[in-house]
């Protein structure tokens, strides 16, 4: 078969019949757009989390009584340091602070800035700032969402926290955290650890939980058992569990969506089947003529299949492109809230683009395979048209 002449004729036919194909391309591209957007968002969040988890401590230890977390005593820290193979034991103080009037909440995170490591990390995160000025007095760093919200409520420079004791604690807003970290830092308020204790109502001897690292991954299972045995009300969670729960969350969201999507897809497939049965039956005479002029059934099948593939690929590219722009350039307005929620603070994060084999192939398979399967029988039916149709 001559590829040149074949393509010339094929594209001529496609353009002649473009009104018949256009609606299919538009609908396909729309369906693909929706599907790709969801998968793009979930894989992007997953990618960011996985990158972040790399520096997250390996284990978290906290006190749980009756299924409810209670403040963890600081003495546990010393007990952990004594275990061989454990390194980098760090106490964490954090908790939610509710902005009662509007039912919004912020995540207060206390950091021990007197520690050298934290000092360095802070320097890296907010370069070109005077750290001394920050550490001098009650100051905090806030996430972008927090900043926007407080600005809107006329807390331009500082905020008065109400402590559990009923006293007010005025904290200056020092700086906004970089927007690239919005996925985790949007609702965060980072402040010195003692200040955080005061606002969250922890005593001097209490922390939220304690984290530590175990550099040798082969020891993880053993370590979990060892640490669990320290106290009867101690709960250990390792990084793998966190990773798995994130994985499950996004599988769950994406998966439920995909299953709902099957309904749309099967309707679409049925419509395609009917539509192409109709479109092709109007072409019977032309196909009969081609057969009378010496085209074999194989030639016609090839012709019709290429036609279908052109439509499939065109709508695939269009759908994926628009989804890409929508998610990674425009930040997926509306759809974002399915994944991140929209009740609390407005999150203006930018998704990190992720285009991997798995996502692109998944999109292609879930769309192209049913598409081609649906038109396969109509294509066959018209391809075996008896050439005598041309004589009628």
């Amino acid at each position: 078969m001559n590829a040149n002449a074949f393509w010339h004729f094929l594209t001529l036919q496609l353009f002649k019949e473009r009104s018949k194909h256009l609606s299919v391309i538009v609908i396909s591209a729309m369906i693909l757009f929706l599907l790709s957007s969801v998968l793009f968002i979930s894989s992007s969040i997953r990618f960011s989390l996985e990158e972040t988890l790399k520096v997250q401590p390996d284990f978290v230890v906290s006190r749980v009584q009756g299924g409810i977390s209670v403040p963890t005593p600081m003495i546990w820290e010393d007990e952990l340091i004594d275990i061989y193979g454990v390194s980098n034991v760090i106490q964490r103080v954090y908790g939610r602070y509710f902005f009662k009037a509007k039912e919004r909440s912020f995540l207060i995170v206390g950091v021990d800035f007197l520690e050298e490591q934290s000092h360095e990390n802070l320097q890296k995160l907010i370069a070109k700032t005077d750290i001394k000025a920050f550490l001098n007095g009650s100051k905090m760093l806030v996430g972008e969402g927090v900043k926007t919200y407080l600005d809107a409520h006329f807390y331009k420079d500082d905020y008065n926290f109400l402590t559990p004791e009923g006293t007010f604690e005025k904290v200056n807003i020092f700086k906004t955290l970089p927007f690239q970290s919005n996925l985790i830092a949007n609702d965060m308020m980072v402040m010195p650890i003692d200040l955080a204790r005061k606002i969250l109502g922890y005593s001097e001897e209490e922390v939220s939980d304690i984290t530590f690292n175990v550099p040798n991954p082969d020891e993880w299972d053993m370590m979990t058992d060892k640490v669990s045995a320290l106290h009867y009300d101690l709960q250990v969670v390792n990084k793998k569990d966190v990773q798995k729960s994130y994985e499950n969350l996004y599988n769950y969201k994406g998966g439920l969506f995909l299953i709902l999507f099957l309904v749309v897809l099967s309707t679409f497939t049925l419509i395609l089947y009917q539509r192409y049965s109709m479109v092709y039956s109007s072409e019977r005479r032309n196909i009969g003529l081609l057969r009378a002029l010496g085209w074999s059934i194989n030639d016609v099948l090839k012709f019709k299949f290429t036609e279908t593939l052109v439509i499939v690929f065109a709508s695939y590219i269009l759908g994926v492109f628009f989804a890409y722009v929508y998610v990674f350039v425009l930040g997926a307005p509306l759809l974002k809230e399915v994944f991140l929620g929209g009740q609390n603070l407005q999150n203006t994060l930018t998704f990190v683009p992720v285009l991997d084999f798995s996502v692109l192939t998944s999109i292609f398979l879930i769309y192209a395979l049913p598409f081609i399967a649906a038109v396969l029988i109509p294509v066959w039916r018209v391809s075996v048209t008896e050439p005598k149709e041309a004589m009628l």
């Binding site: 001559n2 040149n4 009378a292 010496g294 041309a390």
Partner: protein, 226 residues
């Protein structure tokens, strides 16, 4: 002229089944057409000449009997072979011209060569040759929908000739033409006859009764050769 048999028809029957009724259209046709012969199948409409023509071209399948094209049983070949036979050895000219209206003359004539696997250059050469023989070269780039009846007919001739087949089959070629164009068509047929093509024409047009070149008129009545 050689006596090589181009088309051999043996005990050919074709019966249409319609709503439970069997309607015999062709009954026991036996015919042998040699190379370079020109045969005019003559008969009123419904006499079965179009059906016979489509059986010869392998467009339709017989109910029994066979059609041999240069010794090959076109009616019983798998599609791949039948199509190849049709593409290489048979040129068809239809009553309604059957052009693709949105394609140009040039593109219409190219269609039979698309499955051939020839190089683009060869295709262009063959198309130009066919256009010249059919005397439609000057309208090469014009859309088929803009052609007059005669021009359409000549495009159809060029399309039938483009694969240089030995056999040309014409189904009521002058039914949609005026007298001048019909005469022009017959003139081109004479040209093809001189080129040594085997020609079979199904028609009821009296113009074909006395052709300027050697021809055999075979009358058809009620699906039988009279």
């Amino acid at each position: 002229m050689s006596n090589k048999t181009m088309i051999q028809i043996e005990n050919l029957y074709r019966t249409f089944h319609h709503a439970g009724n069997a309607m015999p259209v062709l009954k026991d046709i036996n015919l042998s057409i040699g190379q370079g012969e020109c045969v005019v199948l003559k008969g009123v409409s419904g006499s079965g000449k179009t059906t016979l023509l489509s059986l010869i071209a392998g467009l339709d399948k017989p109910s029994s009997g066979k059609v041999l094209i240069e010794g090959e049983p076109i009616s019983k070949l798998p599609d791949l072979f039948a199509s190849e036979l049709r593409a290489k050895k048979i040129g068809m000219i239809f009553q309604h011209f059957n052009l693709f209206e949105h394609l140009s003359v040039n593109e219409n004539v190219t269609i039979p060569l698309i499955p051939s696997g020839l190089k683009m250059k060869e295709i262009h050469e063959k198309v130009d040759d066919a256009l010249k023989v059919a005397n439609i070269m000057h309208k090469k780039e014009v859309l088929a929908s803009r052609l007059s009846g005669g021009e359409k007919q000549r495009t159809a001739i060029a399309r039938a000739l483009v694969a240089s087949p030995n056999i040309i089959l014409c189904d009521e070629p002058t039914a949609n033409l005026d007298r001048d164009n019909s005469l022009l068509f017959i003139e081109i047929l004479g040209e093809l006859h001189r080129m040594g093509k085997t020609i079979v024409i199904a028609t009821h047009d009296p113009l074909f009764d006395s052709l300027s070149f050697e021809s055999t008129v075979i009358p058809m009545v009620d699906g039988m050769i009279g």
